[in-house]
Symmetry: C2
Subunit: 327 residues, 2 copies
């Protein structure tokens, strides 16, 4: 089902190995994908992935802070220069749309494709690539939203025994019933699909949080979700020391919420640059803190990691970074 490629996992500033926020989710419909946040140099990260901006169908921006949106104008401009003509949906807070308007105007940026801009405070649900996107209000220093992406897959299986009992041999009429059509037999009997087709609805749902100091605000969004991706900027101890000013979440806080919400998978991201991969203060501290609160499938994102949400509902790492994390 959904495939998640992390393009940036650092908060505030880029580091040598982690860029600022961006997450690509492949929707499962062809090569389509949706981008969540677009920190500076997101387009540069994309050059080292199999993802093409030609297949991008929507961009969801969580909030206007630069580490989540300063890459937007460059990505849109490069898409234009690379020949994109397909429409693109942009869901974002009003401040982001105002900034983009100013950028387009001041820098004489011409986009030769339709960019449909929607203020998430007014239109918080959209359909794209066979999925439903919905926005959910969070708590941060500026207006911030999390997003849920949901895909409903309906499997229609024929009740073969019932069909045979009705005297219908396997053939084109079986296919028509399976496709939801009514079938009239030569003897005049009418067979309705509801009597012969069993429908099973699978609902796949991933929630991507923006910057947020209150994960509980995503309780409704997470109902039925297999995965939450949430910022985990600090340990609880660091958060207490820094104070509530930055309005971010700690590993403990996110993990406690994920446990309470019964989420089977949790990916933490958006780590303060103080947490390196090696050294005195590492992301392992965040993992340790979260594991004390959450016994589900806990994952810590790294740039270029690609995860897949399997049919069994388990999120697994399917590809690791294969390129050097150059500038």
């Amino acid at each position: 089902m959904f495939k998640m490629t992390f393009l940036g996992t650092s908060s505030g500033v880029p580091t040598k190995t982690r860029n600022v926020s961006a997450l690509a989710i492949q929707t499962g419909q062809g090569r389509d994908w949706v981008l969540f946040d677009c920190g500076e140099a997101t387009q540069h990260r994309l050059l080292h992935t199999p993802l093409s901006v030609r297949d991008l169908t929507a961009i969801c921006i969580t909030h206007v802070h630069g580490d989540h949106c300063y890459g937007l104008p460059g990505l849109l401009a490069s898409a234009a220069m690379n020949g994109r003509r397909e429409p693109l949906l942009l869901l974002a807070p009003k401040a982001v749309l105002r900034w983009l308007d100013a950028t387009i105007e001041c820098s004489e940026l011409f986009l030769p494709y339709p960019l449909e801009c929607r203020d998430v405070a007014e239109v918080s649900v959209a359909e794209v690539s066979g999925c439903t996107l919905s926005a959910h209000r969070l708590s941060h220093r500026v207006e911030s939203h999390g997003y849920a992406i949901e895909r409903v897959v309906v499997h229609a299986s024929l009740r073969a025994e019932a069909l045979r009992a009705a005297g219908l041999a396997p053939g084109p009429d079986w296919k028509r019933l399976q496709a939801g059509e009514t079938v009239t037999l030569p003897d005049g009997r009418v067979l309705a699909p509801a009597d012969f087709v069993e429908q099973r609805r699978e609902c796949w749902r991933v929630v991507v949080g923006g910057d947020n100091d209150d994960p509980g605000l995503l309780a409704d969004a997470c109902r039925g979700a297999q995965l939450l991706v949430h910022e985990t900027t600090y340990t609880e101890e660091a958060l207490q020391r820094i104070g509530p000013g930055p309005m971010h979440s700690s590993a403990a806080r996110v993990a406690r919420f994920a446990a309470a919400a019964g989420l089977p998978n949790l990916i933490m991201t958006h780590f303060s640059p103080r947490y390196q991969d090696e050294g005195p203060t590492t992301v392992a501290e965040l993992a340790q803190e979260a594991r004390a609160e959450y016994s589900g499938n806990l994952l810590l994102a790294r740039d270029f990691d690609r995860y897949e949400l399997g049919r069994d509902g388990v999120v697994r790492l399917v590809a690791e970074a294969t390129i050097a994390n150059g500038g």
Copy 2:
């Protein structure tokens, strides 16, 4: 003298190996450096160089097109988050300053250091890090400026024979004369530095062009310059095929100008992504075209190349890219 580090050498869009425009010039005064243009991900490039944004004293933006300035807000924001408190000078066309104002306002960007913004159309000369920066109007689709950075070094050498003839033995008075002070001897004679000190003025000057279809506009700026760095987007054949719309320069055009201006060193940069390092169409074509017109020291910039303008007036490559060009 000046050290030039290329942080981006592609035009329009980044490639896997070349970022969009940015050039750092170390002024020779301590660790100070000046940045010319700031395409998206310039701050990411800097992470892989010895340059620190703490030592950056001025930013000169040539024009408002995104590949020359979209990295500006992120670089300024990261400098703030990394603790910069020193003032910073920004020379740029009005459109860039308007865009930066809008960015600061919309994205609630707080800069805890004084950013002195000057519209180059109004104030085209500035003193910084012991150098003079001057802006020179170019010809492009939008207002575009080239910049000259100049440093005058005065060497004062004592005329030892004349001093000895005047009866002054080597000692502290020699140093005082060399420093420009008048010396009164015990016998009442007054020695003026002008009579005993020979001054030699060295003038070091580098010109950095912005996007421009008429290199001749830099004739005045290049007088006495040791080096011109100029955009070379296409070959003349490609430029003719594409037509004058983009308002860029060809290798032939730039090289012809450098020859006519008697410039000893020419670095070409800002290559269309169609010219790769390997493949059917390469930057070697641009070099070949330029060499037919220019017999001076011709260099083609690559990302992370560091060049030095030597005391002999020759520009030499002193460091090549040592990191993988990741995203």
